[in-house]
Amino acid sequence: MAILLYGANHQSAPLEFRERLVVPEGGLVAAVHRLIGHEGIDEGLILSTCNRTELLVHGAAPATGETLREFLRAHSRAEPADLDRHCYLHADREAVRHLFRVACSLDSMIVGEPQILGQVKEAYAAAHAAGGLRSVLDNLMQRAFAVAKKVRTETGIARAPVSIAHAAAARAREIFGDLRGSAVVVLGAGKMARIAAQHIAADGVGSITVVNRSYQRGAELARELRGEALMWERLPEALEKSDIVIVSTGAPHHIVTREDAQRIARQRRGRPIFLIDIAVPRNVDPRANDLDNVYVYDIDDLKSVAEAGLRERRNEARFAEEIVDREASAYIDWMRSLEISPTIVALRDHLHALGATELDRFRGRLGALSPGQQQALEEFRTALVNKVLHHPIQALKRASTRPGSGQLVAFLREAFGLDGQGPTRGKS
């Protein structure tokens, strides 16, 4: 039995191929149901997003890889050659490690992005609904969620801002702390202005005011942001009351000049004002940044903050990879250690059964035996089997306290033929 993971992601396959693999959200439960219907597959889960489609199963090892490939081929109607070129198959430790990396957002296009964990949770829910999860995968998924949480809290992979809007919002928080008391003014009603305003308002702000040359469009954006709209003529009045100003109009000149900024700053008596200029050409005089308590960020400033953020996340990802490696090894060891006592029982049962069968076979040739002789034979059989068992069982017991016990378990099961034949192991 093994944990296997088969699929393709944004690194292994181009979009044209990935889109053929996608399992639509509505069909997920049915697909898992079909997956676990295959022989040799005990448990199964399907994760399908725009960046990846992966099958995770617990099943009989060697044949199952083939089954998974066939399952995806039938689902996507892709050429087998394409599947072989673009898909990967991971087993046991590698499969666990891959799953952990995905859940921790280390395998994402933007390292640390938060959506993937939600998608993994949805996949988990669907697999659960389809009855695809029992002890092994259910446990593994819980572990994956725990590792993802650990990585998020102990490393900075999700911390630094990586987009312009995100960088603007992060900087606003560095100035004002909590934004719930801050007044936000949006100049212009374009797409960039909207995205930046949404990011800043994500955790709540004091107020949002949209000022746009076309009042109509401004009012639309204001409605979307749950703020109010003002006529363009009332711009100076809006600026006086603002803490954060997002400027993104199509005007080819400075809408907020240095003199404007100076006047506003004086009225604010040292309360800081944050001017976010995401317009090209710029709408805020960059020299206003020299004024006390006035902070002006243009699009290049924010871009460099975001780029530094991306570098930082990659840097932090190294620590995250270490955690994932450690956790994956620990998980596999733990799983293997669970097999130790069943293996001991199986070994004992198996050899005693062998001894009994062989003794039965030879009994006939010995003729009539006295009860004493019969007992001696029985004792001989038991003693011999116990002698043979002694060292393997001792070795297993010692191994249970150490990492790496899995190999010994696997070896003994194979050497004594415990999997496959014999009265030994039922499905877990």
């Binding site: 900075g156 560095e174 004002f176 702390g177 008596r269 308590n293 903050v305 953020g309």
Partner: protein
């Protein structure tokens, strides 16, 4: 506080003063360990060192408290009799105030400012001559204690004001220079620094005012004049005036931000100079 009769009744064994000094030294070492962990947390992010800083600071404060108590017991009097003792008490109060502020507001950067300041004060205290502060014949010692107590609490709170103002200016410069987000991680927000500076000053200023007034009364009893125009006294009144301007500007004129932070820094500098020559 023990007066002389109680002291006789308690009769401290030999070596208690020595033990007190050892405890103080232990406190200093533990503070240093806290400072190093705080520094490590800033230099290498993601280390767990940061978790240890408040524990070290608290352990140091425990040693410090034990040291102060042992000192009082060993000497058989309130351990505010000499300049080193006053400075020892001052750094003790500063650490307690800082631990309280950290506990309430989780401002990690305080470790980096207040811990070294407390260490400097403790170390300077070791270098200064251990002479008793003369008490005038007609003066009640309790008044001197009020004076010293108010000054110690006030300067302790002013440590936090100083930290807040310093960090405000650092954050301000970093924002202007458009530093990456990583830089700000262990720093509080600009508004947070401003609030902390304002609040701690509003605690420190009345205490210092009370301390100066009682100081003048003490002087009057000692020298027959409330104001002797010593360099030290001039320095204190200058510092007090500067801080008064900041208080008025903050409350009366609604000032915030850079200017009050700069003035506070200057005021604290004067207080710090003054501190080592009571």
């Amino acid at each position: 506080m023990l007066d002389s009769t109680a002291a006789r009744a308690f009769r401290a064994p030999e070596g208690v003063v020595q033990a007190a000094l050892v405890l103080m030294r232990a406190a200093l070492l533990v503070y240093a360990a806290g400072f190093v962990t705080a520094l490590a947390a800033v230099l290498r992010e993601g280390t767990r060192a940061a978790r240890w800083t408040p524990r070290f600071a608290a352990a140091g404060a425990l040693f410090h408290t034990a040291g102060m108590l042992a000192m009082g017991w060993g000497l058989g009097r309130c351990p505010l009799g000499t300049l080193p003792e006053v400075l020892g008490a001052l750094s003790w109060v500063a650490v307690l105030i800082y631990l309280f502020v950290w506990w309430r507001h989780r401002v990690e950067v305080l470790h980096l400012v207040v811990l070294p300041l407390a260490m400097i004060v403790l170390m300077v205290a070791k270098l200064l001559p251990d002479e008793l502060i003369p008490v005038g014949p007609s003066m009640q010692p309790s008044l001197l204690r009020f004076h010293l107590g108010a000054i110690i609490l006030g300067v302790g709170a002013l440590f936090v004001t100083f930290a807040a103002s310093l960090v405000y200016l650092i954050v301000d410069r970093a924002l202007k220079a458009k530093r990456p987000a990583r830089y700000f991680r262990s720093l509080p927000s600009l508004a947070g620094c401003d609030r902390m500076g304002r609040l701690s000053l509003l605690w420190a200023f009345p205490l210092l005012t009370f301390g100066i007034v009682t100081g003048a009364i003490v002087n009057d009893a000692k020298y027959g004049t409330p104001w002797a125009w010593h360099a030290n006294e001039t320095l204190s009144i200058l510092a007090w005036l500067l801080l008064a301007v900041v208080v008025v500007a903050r409350i009366g004129w609604g000032w915030r931000g850079r200017k009050p932070a700069l003035l506070t820094l200057l005021g604290f500098g004067l207080v710090f100079l003054r501190m080592f020559g009571v």
